[in-house]
């Protein structure tokens, strides 16, 4: 893996940008056979780091796959916690950014068949939903959508959104996920708080996507919220969404 570096007056490295892998020796082996190529830099301390390249996919899914995937996701967490993996430290966020980039790429390549409810992979996925940046969360949400709704998953999504509250694109994506939790009180509390006091661009996306969580039972609650929404653009978007939903219930 190669990183671009820049120098400032010959004294300091200022920033780093992830680049495509150019050196085969630097490519880490995939942790399981069904993924043809992983572009990930795994921590040196992980148990699978010496497993060597595997290019042939297994003929059948095996428990080893689940264990390997979970292990890799866990090892990424170790990287995040210890900050001792070979990611660049050339600016305050270069390490985290490169790490999360790898995590997002790794998640992207996990086959849907490997994502099962009540699995160790799901547990790791939920952890990354909570702590990942927007790219990681986007991939985690895609996987979660293939799994049955659960309180555990929902809590992870909400916690992740709160940690990355300013990310309006993730908010937009999460509103679709919330459609799988109709009349859920945790969703209602989170969405209502976002509309009234969340970061501006996230609040606008929540208002635009409110239809995903509206039901005949809860629409009144959101209408009552309107006077508490002080942002004009959030209020306008919410008002338009609510009116449209009312129309739809009545047939327009």
């Amino acid at each position: 893996m190669k990183y671009l570096t820049y120098t400032v007056a010959g004294a300091a490295l200022v920033t780093a940008v992830y680049l495509a892998t150019t050196n085969d020796e630097e490519r880490m082996a995939p942790p399981f056979g069904s993924v043809p190529e992983m572009n990930s830099r795994a921590p040196a301390s992980t148990s699978d780091s010496n497993s060597g390249p595997t290019t042939k996919a297994p003929e059948k899914k095996s428990p080893n796959n689940e264990a390997a995937i979970a292990s890799r996701l866990k090892s990424f967490k170790d990287c995040a916690d210890r900050e001792n993996c070979p990611y660049p430290q050339t600016d305050p966020q270069s390490y985290e950014f490169a790490l999360h980039h790898d995590v997002a790429n790794f998640l992207k390549q996990i086959p849907a068949a490997e994502m099962r409810d009540n699995s160790s992979v799901k547990r790791e996925l939920l952890d990354w939903m909570k702590r990942g940046n927007g790219f990681v969360q986007a991939e985690a949400l895609k996987h979660l959508r293939t799994l049955p709704p659960s309180t555990e998953s929902l809590n992870a999504v909400i916690e992740g959104l709160e940690n990355n509250y300013h990310d309006a694109l993730i908010m937009k994506q999460a509103m679709q996920e919330f459609s799988r939790y109709p009349d859920n009180p945790a969703v209602a509390t989170f969405v209502q708080n976002t509309l009234t006091e969340g970061p501006q661009l996230s609040a606008v996306e929540a208002a635009k996507g409110i239809r995903n969580v509206l039901t005949p039972k809860n629409v009144d609650n959101y209408e009552k919220l309107l006077p508490q929404v002080r942002s004009e653009s959030v209020r306008e978007a919410l008002s338009a969404s609510l009116k449209d939903y009312r129309y739809s219930l009545a047939g327009g």
Binding site: V14, P92, Q93, N164, H166, L201, V204, K208
Partner: protein, 518 residues
């Protein structure tokens, strides 16, 4: 500013939170006419042409008082500039927090303002726009061109936002950066290094900035002198406590005419001043009444959404003047005549192409994220698109149409009152691509679960219902209201009337109602 200071500032030039699409953006991305500066307030290096990310005319209309003029006397210009940019930043910060947390104590509001102001000073020396000696309007670019503007929004980590023009437009620049800082602010309030600190608000500010600079896990970084990035926190602390910017701001309570609270949410905002104290409205004056702009004629208020201000010229001269602020309750005493933009705007501009109609573009035209904003793509000449929204801006009657092209939605410029026919013309021919909005002659299938009611007029008395799954042919398509509510005229089982089909602003719900059949 000495070299050592310059270097430490460069380390500070980084905005955290890789929230949006990232990119391996090259140094000085979309940077033309690059020029240096000085490590001093308002002129931090480098600057690049602002119009790579949006139109200069928009900036001139809305933000000219915060352009640093390179050709003016430097020291005098710095004092003028700093007074204004500080005032705008202070008001932007205050407006943001009070919208998000109206219960915030005065102490917290002041601390938040201090956090934002210090961040602007520390990240960019309050540098944003500059009118350079070549007369070009440029924008500050730090960190090898990656950091954009006042709050140094990084184009590698916020690539989509940069390209959408969010960092280019000072209003959305504040909003975008404050969303990140506010997320950090909330998080900071939960950290032990803040809750247990003897100087609570100073600790709060330091933690919020540490998160802004280093990521969500770094809120207490400033307490660890051995942290790899401890120097960043020390430098910020110096900015926070020394407040060197104060040397250039003679009056920290200076007022600004830039309607920044509005511009942080919308592109089109009027400059306002308090109501004149008169108990009667002034004939022919513009009034801002809540979120609307109104023209007083015969002592009645004729009102439209603020973005349609120019269309009030159809009622009477609505020149480009400051609007007086009145409450809706005050205006109601005299009567409010709510206008429909789809009726009034075509009276002002006879060539305006209505929503749902076809438009043939007669040039290659940029498609922008917003009327003034970032470039999305280029729509080639002779493309036939469907108008999904329109805007008419400024006294020239500059018009913009919202269209969808190759799956990308945005606005394209289509000329002025006088030259619009050379930019685009209405057509009834086939569209260049399928649309989710029906046109006359199209057939639709109802998808709304409860069917769609047939009414005598748009929103009028009920005549019948078309059940889900049924198909009808459109004989007329029209839009109403600020949300561009769409109505189709149809005939179903011998009943002729209008059906509602969703809206297009500020988002779109058309596909929740009906599907246009191929």
């Amino acid at each position: 500013m000495n070299t050592k200071k310059s270097l430490t500032i460069i380390f500070g030039l980084f905005l955290t939170g890789p929230a949006f699409a990232a990119n391996n953006t090259p140094d000085y991305y979309k940077c033309s006419y690059r020029e240096g500066g000085e490590w001093n307030y308002g002129r931090a290096p480098q600057v690049c042409s602002a119009n790579s990310f949006g139109s200069d005319s928009y900036l001139v209309t809305n933000y000219s008082s915060v352009f640093f003029a390179d050709t003016a006397s430097r020291s005098g210009e710095r004092v003028r500039y700093m007074g204004e940019i500080h005032a705008v930043t202070r008001d932007a910060a205050k407006a943001y927090l009070l919208k998000k947390k109206p219960s915030a104590s005065t102490t917290e509001v002041n601390a938040w303002i201090e956090a934002v102001v210090t961040t602007a000073a520390h990240e960019s020396f309050f540098s944003m726009y500059r009118r350079t000696s070549d007369s070009r309007l440029k924008m500050m670019r730090g960190d090898y061109g990656h950091g954009h503007g006042l709050m140094q929004i990084d184009d590698r980590h916020h690539y989509s936002a940069i390209n959408n023009g969010l960092a280019w437009n000072l209003g959305s620049h504040y909003t975008y950066a404050m969303d990140i800082l506010y997320t950090a602010w909330r998080k900071a309030s939960t950290l032990s290094c803040v809750t247990g600190a003897s100087n609570y608000w100073q600790a709060h500010i330091r933690s919020a900035w540490a998160i802004y600079n280093g990521g969500s896990a770094k809120g207490c970084r400033w307490t660890n002198p051995n942290d790899r990035w401890a120097q960043n926190d020390k430098n910020f602390y110096t900015s926070l406590t020394k407040k060197a910017w104060r040397n250039h701001v003679s009056n920290t309570q200076q007022a600004t005419k830039i309607p920044i609270s509005c511009l942080m949410e919308k592109e089109a905002c009027s400059v306002t001043e308090p109501g004149n104290g008169s108990t009667r409205p002034l004939e022919g004056r513009l009034y801002k009444v809540d979120s609307q702009i109104c023209l007083v004629k015969n002592q009645r208020f004729f009102c439209l959404p603020e973005r349609d201000r120019q269309c009030l010229n159809a009622i009477g001269p609505a020149s480009n003047e400051t609007a007086l602020t009145w409450t809706a309750a005050q205006a109601k005493v005299y009567g409010i005549e709510q206008q429909d933009r789809h009726q009034l705007c075509p009276q002002y501009d006879r060539n305006l192409i209505p929503v749902a109609s076809g438009l043939r573009v007669l040039k290659n035209i940029n498609l922008r994220d917003t009327p003034a904003g970032g470039l999305v793509t280029v729509v080639p000449v002779n493309s036939v698109l469907q108008v999904r929204d329109f805007e008419v801006r400024n006294a020239n009657g500059d018009r913009y149409y919202k269209v969808s092209y190759q799956g990308k939605s945005g606005y394209l410029y289509a000329g002025t009152l006088s030259d619009n026919s050379s930019w685009g013309v209405p057509v009834s021919s086939s569209l260049s691509a399928p649309s989710t909005m029906a046109r006359v002659g199209d057939s639709i299938r109802v998808v709304n679960l409860y069917g769609i009611n047939i009414r005598s007029t748009p929103g009028g008395s009920l005549l019948g219902n078309i059940p889900k799954g049924a198909s009808v042919r459109i004989s007329e398509a029209l839009a109403q209201g600020p949300e561009d509510k769409l109505y189709y005229k149809i005939t179903y089982q011998n009943i002729t009337g209008y059906i509602y089909a969703g809206y297009t602003m500020p988002s779109e719900t058309l596909t929740d109602w009906a599907q246009v059949l191929p």
